[in-house]
């Protein structure tokens, strides 16, 4: 680690804490390898304290790995991840997580409400039955994603989009300040996608940070304010307008995709829209 990357002098740090919020997630020199082939190579990245942040990149670029390694779910070869300036163990209650749907056993005997209740464990404590307050909070989270009517359904009996909403509700129930979401829009229909993005926008307006792995380049500029472009290494990171550029996308995707043109168009449109809004 070079001196430049380590934390600023203490005085400055304290000042920073007072004036501006700390970055929700700061990744330093993260390197991750599966079976000796590196997936992520020396990625350093700092998110803003709030807002909607997309992680984009081609398949195998290490998008999910970045999230999972930050959360300590896959071993890092080197590097560290700080949440609100601290290691995860100190601020777990402030971090919510939405895993990829494929990692779940859908045959598990749990209702939608049960799943959402899992989001409250941290706040409730591990032992003993869950109190009424937490149940209510879980129900509220379900209602927020429009799933209140399905509270008692077994999760396997829900459609893909509904399942995703339940897991989003679980993340919401955590009442966190930072949400890490692994492909929240994968395999959901248009209506669910809209519901989800609305919920995410509400979170962002409430001053929370949402980091989501996102696949659809065409919608990315529309949905998110910030972006991290990955291709094993860091290609670019920062505000959508300045980073989501043809050059960066070309570098990440190698210019292979016809989709790129669409994405670039969309970016231009979104940028124009944002300018109008500001005007």
């Amino acid at each position: 680690m070079t001196p430049r990357d380590t934390s600023a002098p203490p005085v400055e740090l304290a000042a920073a804490r007072e004036t501006a919020a700390l970055p929700a997630l700061a990744v330093r020199h993260l390197t991750v390898a599966y079976h000796e082939s590196p997936v992520l190579w020396d990625v350093s990245w700092t998110t803003p304290a709030a807002g909607l942040i997309a992680i984009v990149g081609p398949n195998g670029a290490g998008k999910s790995t970045l999230i999972r390694a930050s959360l300590g779910l896959v071993p890092k070869v080197s590097g560290q991840a700080l949440f609100f300036g601290q290691p995860l163990s100190a601020v777990r209650a402030r971090v919510g997580y939405l895993p990829q749907r494929s990692s779940v056993d859908w045959d598990f005997p749990a209702s939608a409400l049960d799943v959402v209740c899992m989001g409250r464990y941290r706040l409730h404590g591990w032992i003993g039955p869950l109190g009424r307050r937490h149940r209510e909070a879980a129900r509220a989270a379900l209602a927020e994603v429009g799933m209140a009517d399905y509270a008692d359904r077994q999760i396997g009996q829900l459609s893909g989009g509904q399942q995703q909403r339940v897991f989003l509700a679980r993340a919401l129930a955590q009442d966190a300040d930072l949400y890490l979401m692994d492909e929240p829009f994968a395999g959901v229909d248009a209506a669910t996608e809209r519901t989800i993005i609305e919920v995410l926008r509400i979170l962002a307006r409430a001053g929370k940070a949402v980091v989501a792995v996102h696949h659809d380049l065409a919608t990315a500029p529309d949905y998110f304010d910030h972006v991290l472009i990955l291709n094993g290494r860091l290609v670019g990171a920062g505000p959508m307008d300045s980073v989501f550029t043809p050059e960066n996308l070309q570098r990440a995707y190698g210019g292979r995709l016809a989709l790129l043109d669409q994405a670039i168009e969309a970016a231009a449109r979104a940028a124009a829209g944002r300018r109008d809004a500001q005007a």
Binding site: P109, M118, Y121, A190
Partner: protein
């Protein structure tokens, strides 16, 4: 199988009831209480093991006790104490089974070998090592313990009061731990990664769960033998799974099944001659399993088949009615007109035979009737039903179109799928939704334009 005369049967029934109510003999009472408690504990722990996909863990564990027993014996010989002392042997058994658990954990964590293979490896290597040790002991002068393997294997019927007390204590503790750690256990079983993110000490919780299974297995092994303890861990949980989709009910139900199997099985063994208690308990659990498999309303095969059949019948009925309605609509004859079955068959893509069968069924249900000229018409009930079905279908289509869900054909297909599950309340909700979106819900919306492809 029964080798008893008719005269014996009432007597057997009497003693069965007596044993059930703990009124038979001292030994029977001890066994019934002991196996019931063990069944409760094993059932509860087994429920979590089933969900953790480690059902066969208890099998591996019980095999992994063998080298422990042999090593403990050798230690006893070396220390010149009684090498057959049960506490010593049990301590050895526990030690190696804990080692077995850790080995399974280690193998799966450190390599790409999956859990089932890891369990198998541990099972065979530990047991094989135990066998090697046994053949060494066989040659020892003090050895002469061919029965060593069976030494820690209990015989259910020979359960004694201290055994039952031990089982009781362990069962109580296991149930308590299951109740206290219910949420962490559930989270680890369901989604260990998520648990890790929210700060659950997953490894620790996992070890607690494994600790429970080790304790239940070793105690059960000593009291009732190898196969029975494996069965009591797996079978009640597998049976309970058929009855519910809710974990909060599944775990107690599994414990209950285990307890009932222990209770009835032991009582059965006490009432008829030549029924080995352990095996009878497993068979009772097996009967519970088979009954659950067949008849459980939630996931049983019969309930499943019935549900599927009903859905199919409802679908066929609705398709018939809507096709008839649309035929009549197209012909402009009004709801009271007649239609040809062949047209409906063509519209729905049914074979003539299939269509005939459906028509007979619809007639039997009173929805439609055959006319003397061979055509059919809808009865008043049928008309009403057809109208309802068609309206629901079109409302849904409309909603999908308003929402912009894509091409008309797609909307139609999805409406097809959904109309059979639309309750009146949902139709009302649909109307409201459409109204909110500025589309009027007419009494009978027109059929959207679509290419009529077969």
């Amino acid at each position: 199988m029964g080798a008893h005369d008719a005269a014996e049967i009432p007597e057997a029934l009497g003693s069965f009831l007596a044993a059930l109510s703990l009124g038979l003999g001292f030994n029977a009472t001890v066994v019934v209480i002991g196996t019931t408690l063990l069944g409760l504990a094993a059932g509860a722990v087994g429920a979590f093991m089933l969900l953790r996909k480690r059902a066969l863990m208890s099998d591996a564990l019980s095999h992994a006790t063998l080298p422990g027993v042999a090593l403990a014996f050798l230690l006893g010989v070396a220390l010149e104490t009684d090498p057959r002392a049960l506490p010593l042997l049990l301590a050895g058994a526990t030690a190696t089974s804990v080692l077995g658990v850790l080995a399974v954990q280690g193998i799966t964590r450190a390599s790409r070998i999956r859990e089932d293979a890891a369990i198998g490896i541990v099972l065979s290597v530990f047991f094989g090592f135990g066998v090697v040790l046994l053949s060494y002991i066989q040659a020892l002068p003090q050895g002469g313990q061919a029965g060593l393997k069976t030494f820690i294997l209990g015989q259910t019927a020979a359960m004694r009061v201290p055994d039952a007390e031990l089982i009781g204590a362990v069962a109580l503790c296991a149930l308590l731990v299951c109740a206290l750690l219910y949420h962490p256990f559930r989270l680890v079983c369901f989604d260990a990664d998520y648990g890790r993110v929210v700060g659950l000490p997953v490894t620790l919780v996992d070890l607690a769960l494994m600790g429970l299974i080790v304790v239940v297995t070793v105690i059960g092994l000593k009291a009732v033998g190898l196969i029975m303890v494996v069965a009591l861990v797996i079978v009640p949980a597998a049976a309970a799974r058929f009855w519910t989709e809710r974990m909060a009910r599944f775990v107690p139900l599994s414990a209950l099944f285990g307890g009932v199997a222990g209770w009835i099985g032991a009582a059965r063994s006490a009432s008829l001659p030549r029924l080995p208690a352990g095996a009878v308990i497993v068979l009772v659990a097996g009967v519970v399993f088979v009954l659950s498999f067949l008849f459980a309303p939630a996931r049983g095969v019969l309930a499943d088949a019935w549900r599927r059949l009903r859905l199919r019948l409802v679908t066929v009925r609705d398709h018939f009615l809507r096709a008839a309605f649309e035929q009549l609509e197209a012909a402009g004859t009004g709801a009271a007109g007649s239609f040809a079955l062949a047209d409906i068959a063509e519209d729905r893509g049914w074979s003539a035979r299939h269509a005939g069968w459906i028509a007979r069924w619809m007639a039997a249900r009173g929805f439609a009737a055959h006319l003397p000229d061979g055509r059919m018409h809808l009865t008043p009930t049928g008309r009403e039903a057809a109208q309802r079905v068609t309206r629901a279908h079109r409302l849904w289509e409309q909603l999908l179109l308003v929402q912009g869900a894509g091409r008309i054909g797609q909307a139609h297909r999805s409406a097809d799928l959904v109309e059979h599950v639309l309750s009146p309340a949902m139709v009302a909700a649909l109307e409201a939704e459409l109204a909110a979106r500025g589309a009027t819900a007419q009494p009978m919306p027109p059929a959207p334009e679509r290419s009529r492809q077969p």
